[in-house]
């Protein structure tokens, strides 16, 4: 029997933290009754935590940081309310002529025909899947592992965490990735090949679920909201991880795409 089995060191530390369940606690306490070394280990664990907590209080905020935080939030608020009354007031001094120009620009037909951004995202995710499948959207780094692909995205300027899932256990291997614009946003695109050559494409970009159109289905799993779109024989499952939106797309059976999404989504 290995040494760690004889002396359950990790469990002793968890016991010192009060973070064992009843069965584990009972087993650890039973061990402690006869093991002086582990009793000492428990006391050392508790003592170490004590010293760290006493000697390392949260530092004071640097002068000005609290103000900076408030100002940064103000900036977001200002950006979020372009149609508030006070935002229009700056136009007044520019006169009626400039306002007329603005009105004309707003009324120009070229802006009115464009679908909402959410609709464009869903449509592009679907059509890009078809392009990857057809080979017209070539992938780089074929047969890379997740770490190599994540490094590739960083090198290519993806400035958010593009977490490349390891789906090897589910029979899906990485087929490659690329950086691709999605409705005007930079996105990480990576593809997997699964059993019988099934293609699964993952996309990540900065955004929210709220901006997407009405889905075919809305699901929830482990406290995470999923939006499912079924179009042109493809299933797209969207979810949020912090400020990153992830979407898995495939022409595999819808439930398979949903199950993979449930398996890989992480609550942030």
């Amino acid at each position: 029997m290995a040494e760690r089995d004889i002396h359950p060191i990790e469990a002793i530390h968890a016991l010192a933290d009060g973070r064992l369940n009843a069965a584990e606690r009972e087993a650890a306490e039973r061990h402690l009754e006869t093991c002086a070394s582990c009793r000492e280990e428990r006391d050392v664990a508790a003592g170490t935590v004590r010293v760290v907590r006493i000697a390392m209080p949260d530092p004071e905020l640097p002068p000005g940081l609290a103000t900076r935080l408030g100002a940064a939030l103000d900036e977001i608020d200002r950006a979020a309310e372009p149609r508030a009354g006070r935002s229009w007031s700056w136009l007044v001094p520019l006169g009626a002529a400039l306002l007329a120009v603005v009105v004309l620009v707003v009324l120009l037909p070229f802006g009115g025909d464009e679908p909402p951004v959410g609709e464009r995202i869903v449509a592009s995710v679907s059509s890009d899947f078809a392009a990857v499948q057809a080979g017209s959207l070539p992938l780089e780094l074929p047969e890379a592992d997740p770490a190599a692909l994540e490094a590739f995205f960083v090198d290519r300027g993806i400035d958010f965490e593009a977490r490349v899932f390891d789906l090897g256990m589910m029979g899906f291997n990485i087929a490659g990735g690329r950086v691709e614009v999605l409705a005007g946003r930079t996105s990480a695109l990576f593809a997997y090949r699964g059993p019988d050559g099934v293609l699964m494409v993952c996309r990540m970009y900065l955004g929210t679920l709220e901006e997407l159109p009405e889905p075919s289905r809305t699901l929830e799993h482990d406290g995470i909201a999923f939006r499912v779109y079924e179009r042109d024989g493809r299933t797209m499952v969207f979810w949020e991880e912090g400020d990153v939106v992830c979407v898995l797309t495939s022409d595999a059976p819808a439930q398979a795409v949903i199950d993979l999404s449930f398996a890989k989504a992480v609550k942030v």
């Binding site: 290995a2 040494e3 760690r4 002396h7 060191i9 990790e10 002793i12 968890a14 933290d17 973070r19 582990c38 000492e40 280990e41 006391d43 050392v44 664990a45 508790a46 003592g47 170490t48 935590v49 004590r50 010293v51 760290v52 907590r53 006493i54 000697a55 390392m56 209080p57 949260d58 530092p59 004071e60 905020l61 640097p62 940081l65 900076r68 935080l69 940064a72 939030l73 977001i76 608020d77 979020a80 309310e81 508030a84 997740p146 770490a147 994540e150 490094a151 960083v154 400035d159 958010f160 965490e161 977490r163 929210t208 709220e210 406290g223 912090g242 400020d243 992480v266 609550k267 942030v268």
Partner: protein
């Protein structure tokens, strides 16, 4: 989503502002630079505010914001080429079974209220831990997150956090014991 709703802003500030100090402490101990830590906290606030709608009331806001901060930090480190692209589930530091150690007198040192530990020396010893170990200590022992929350922040299984924590504390206890002895706080 953060935005123009005054109620959202108020609710966000009520939730987030009391966390500014712990967030800054976590950031400072990750980056080791005050300027970088301030930037990291600011970016964390911005992202948290933008995604405030995704925060579930009743869950631990501290864990949520620590997760965002950690994610921003890892991405920034990756961008600068300072850290591997992924956090390994089983790092080199986690290898091998832990053997029973001779802790004679160590618990007495660590629990002795008469010993006045200097913050700078404890900070230095924590800072000297391998990054993944240091994170575990910062998240659980200082941040007071549960093992599950710490695992979510660090992006690893709960068992890995538990292992890292035990190994980190053992290294730290040994170092602190040496500090106490070198300062003549305990007799050999």
């Amino acid at each position: 989503m953060g935005g123009s709703d005054d109620n959202d802003r108020g609710r966000f500030e009520a939730l987030a502002m009391p966390l500014a100090r712990p967030l800054y402490g976590f950031a400072l101990r990750l980056t080791r630079r005050s300027d970088d830590a301030s930037d990291l906290v600011q970016e964390t606030f911005l992202r948290a505010y933008r995604t405030f709608a995704s925060f579930r009331p009743g869950t631990n806001a501290k864990a949520w914001m620590f997760k965002i901060l950690h994610s921003v930090h890892v991405n920034e480190a990756k961008r600068r080429g300072r850290r591997p692209a992924t956090t390994s589930i089983d790092s080199a530091y986690d290898d091998g079974p832990m053997e029973i150690a001779d802790w004679s007198g160590t618990a007495d040192i660590l629990t002795n209220p008469a010993i006045d530990w200097e913050g700078s020396e404890v900070e230095r010893e924590v800072s000297a831990l391998p990054e993944e170990f240091r994170e575990a200590v910062l998240l659980v022992d200082l941040g007071d997150l549960t093992y599950e929350e710490a695992a979510e922040v660090a992006g690893c299984p709960v068992g890995t956090i538990r292992s890292r924590l035990a190994r980190a504390r053992r290294r730290l206890a040994e170092r602190l014991r040496n500090v106490a002895r070198s300062r003549g706080l305990v007799k050999e």
